[in-house]
């Protein structure tokens, strides 16, 4: 890292957004992977980029990290070109795919990456602890299980103490407990004032862990806003229970409820605020045996959002 890169970083840093993407376009041959993506992330924000397979999330992430340039449009991280921000130690990243290089131990690899960031990097044992891999420190990285490897890659993203961390589907291969721990580590990292951008397929994950959600489909941003707004636009969640003698009109009048359906002997309410709906159900003393609350199906949500954006609504 050169001195000039650092001092310039300090000079351009104040007030610049952590991420600023302007009308990004990227094609691979005839595949238009990204078609005009535009968004900005403020320092300290945690943003989820949500979208189905092939939406263009990873392509956008790669361009954000300076791995390849966009065909059109521009990107700045903290007011700098991505490569420069990376060189200045501002960015930690975890890509979606990637094995790890053979014949290095977990401790050596994390230590090496931390070392490239200089004094801003937290102590290696601390990072290993955060990523729940302290017990793997002496193991060769190429001899780990898929989920363990993924935790190592997560550790590499945090190892430098960078102010912006970009995670492309960080929980894909993890079991439930590792997933929970990873999100906790990520939220702790964000709570220190750092900026986090992550991608996911799951509205729930985005909702639980991000301040804001950017929905991408077919290479375009189709919604961008606080989780509550996105959930509302996407049809929110479903509350289901056994169908007894509840009055459909009374159910439809509950707070948040958009739709009432009876399917296979169960009442299914679509709601923008499942907490309020369940509380009101309980308050009204309505029977709700075998209660289930679930996120709305993401495919439906994308359909809802896409048609909304086509009508000139969201996005």
């Amino acid at each position: 890292m050169t001195k000039s890169a650092v001092s310039e970083a300090v000079a351009t840093d104040a007030g610049a957004p952590a991420v600023s993407c302007e009308d990004l376009v990227k094609s691979f041959g005839r595949v238009e992977a990204v078609r005009g993506v535009r968004f900005a992330v403020r320092p300290g924000e945690t943003v989820a980029v949500l979208g189905p397979n092939g939406a263009g999330k990873s392509t956008t992430v790669h361009m954000m990290l300076g791995l390849f340039p966009p065909d059109a449009g521009s990107i700045e991280l903290f007011g700098m070109a991505p490569e420069k921000a990376v060189r200045a130690g501002r960015v930690g990243a975890m890509l979606q795919e990637g094995q790890l290089v053979p014949r290095v131990t977990v401790g050596e690899l994390v230590g090496f990456v931390a070392g490239t960031y200089g004094s801003q990097a937290p102590a290696v044992p601390h990072t290993l602890e955060l990523a729940q891999i302290a017990d793997l420190a002496g193991r060769r990285v190429d001899k780990l299980s898929g989920g363990q490897m993924q935790r190592v890659r997560f550790a590499l993203a945090l190892a430098g103490g960078a102010r912006l961390v970009v995670l492309d589907e960080p929980t894909a291969a993890l079991d439930v407990e590792s997933r929970r721990q990873l999100w906790k580590a990520m939220r702790d990292y964000a709570a220190k004032g750092n900026t986090v951008v992550f991608t996911t397929h799951y509205l729930e994950e985005a909702d639980d862990n991000a301040d804001r959600i950017i929905v991408i489909a077919k290479g375009q941003v189709i919604a961008d806003g606080p989780a509550e707004e996105i959930k509302k636009a996407a049809g929110g969640r479903t509350v289901a229970f056994r169908h007894e003698d509840q009055d459909p009109d009374e159910l439809a009048a509950l707070p948040g409820v958009n739709e009432v359906k009876v399917l296979h002997g169960r009442v299914v309410l679509t709601t923008t605020d499942s907490d309020a709906t369940v509380a009101a159900l309980a308050g009204a003393g309505l029977p709700m045996r075998d209660l289930e609350v679930a996120g709305a199906d993401l495919e439906d949500a994308f359909v809802a959002l896409t048609s909304a954006s086509a009508e000139g609504g969201a996005g």
């Binding site: 890292m1 050169t2 990290l65 300076g66 791995l67 390849f68 990376v86 060189r87 200045a88 130690g89 960015v91 930690g92 990243a93 890509l95 795919e97 990637g98 094995q99 790890l100 290089v101 053979p102 014949r103 290095v104 050596e108 090496f112 990456v113 070392g115 490239t116 960031y117 200089g118 590499l156 430098g160």
Partner: protein, 235 residues
């Protein structure tokens, strides 16, 4: 960069199988070659040591292609490490590796084959063998950065075997047809062989092969820089 060089050297040190394999062939060839005149002794020494050095610097290059396929180059690009430091460290790795066959063959030469060289001649020969391999180390880097993993293996082998055969590292050029002999003069491996042999025989570095080596060093450095930049986009 020292940290990165250390990490790569540690990875190499743990690859015992590869290190053994890369030394077996030159050692076997050297032991197999008979005794002979002073000139033959020197030719055999520098020929096999050079062949061994060529082998390791080429495989050092092709292993880069393998590392890329595992996402290692991309991971490095996402750290604050300077891209130039990464290439330079990779080149230095090749040079460190080259010490192994050169040292091993020279030890065999001195203590088993009793090649009659004075201390000064030994130093000059070892330095010539070591510095002279630099352009080929750069060629190795270029192959690694230009080619996909499997292609790099093929191209690496072609470079290794093809250039050493055509460069007259073992068989003198006398058996070649005239046009091939003329071409061979510009082969970097021929330049390397000539250069090290002349130095080994106690002469001054010959002008033509010194020039050929320097020219190839410049050309392969440019190629490696180009290859590295190009690979950045796709790694």
């Amino acid at each position: 960069m020292p940290a990165y060089l250390r990490l790569e050297l540690r990875r190499l040190a743990r690859d015992g199988g590869y290190l053994m394999a890369s030394l077996v062939v030159p050692v076997a060839i050297y032991l197999f070659l008979g005794q002979g005149s002073h000139g033959d002794l020197v030719q055999n020494l520098v020929g096999t040591a050079g062949f061994g050095a060529l082998g390791v610097v080429v495989t050092n290059g092709t292993s880069i292609a393998e590392d890329r396929s595992r996402g290692w180059l991309r991971l490095l690009r996402l750290t604050p490490l300077s891209p130039l430091d990464v290439v330079v460290a990779r080149g230095l790795c090749a040079m460190v590796l080259a010490v192994l066959p050169i040292a091993l063959i020279s030890l065999l030469g001195a203590f088993y084959k009793h090649v009659p060289l004075g201390a000064g001649e030994w130093v000059a020969t070892l330095l010539a063998l070591w510095f002279g391999i630099a352009p080929l180390a750069l060629l190795g880097l270029s192959v690694g950065y230009l080619c996909e993993a499997r292609m790099a293996q093929v191209v690496g082998t072609l470079v290794y075997v093809g250039l050493s055969l055509l460069g007259g590292l073992f068989v003198g050029l006398d058996s070649f047809p005239g046009w091939l002999r003329a071409l061979a003069k510009f082969n970097p491996v021929y330049g390397y062989g000539e250069f090290t042999r002349k130095v080994g025989e106690g002469g001054a570095p010959p002008a033509l092969s010194t020039f050929v080596l320097l020219a190839w060093t410049a050309a392969f450095a440019a190629l490696a820089a180009f290859a590295y930049r190009r690979s950045g986009r796709y790694s």
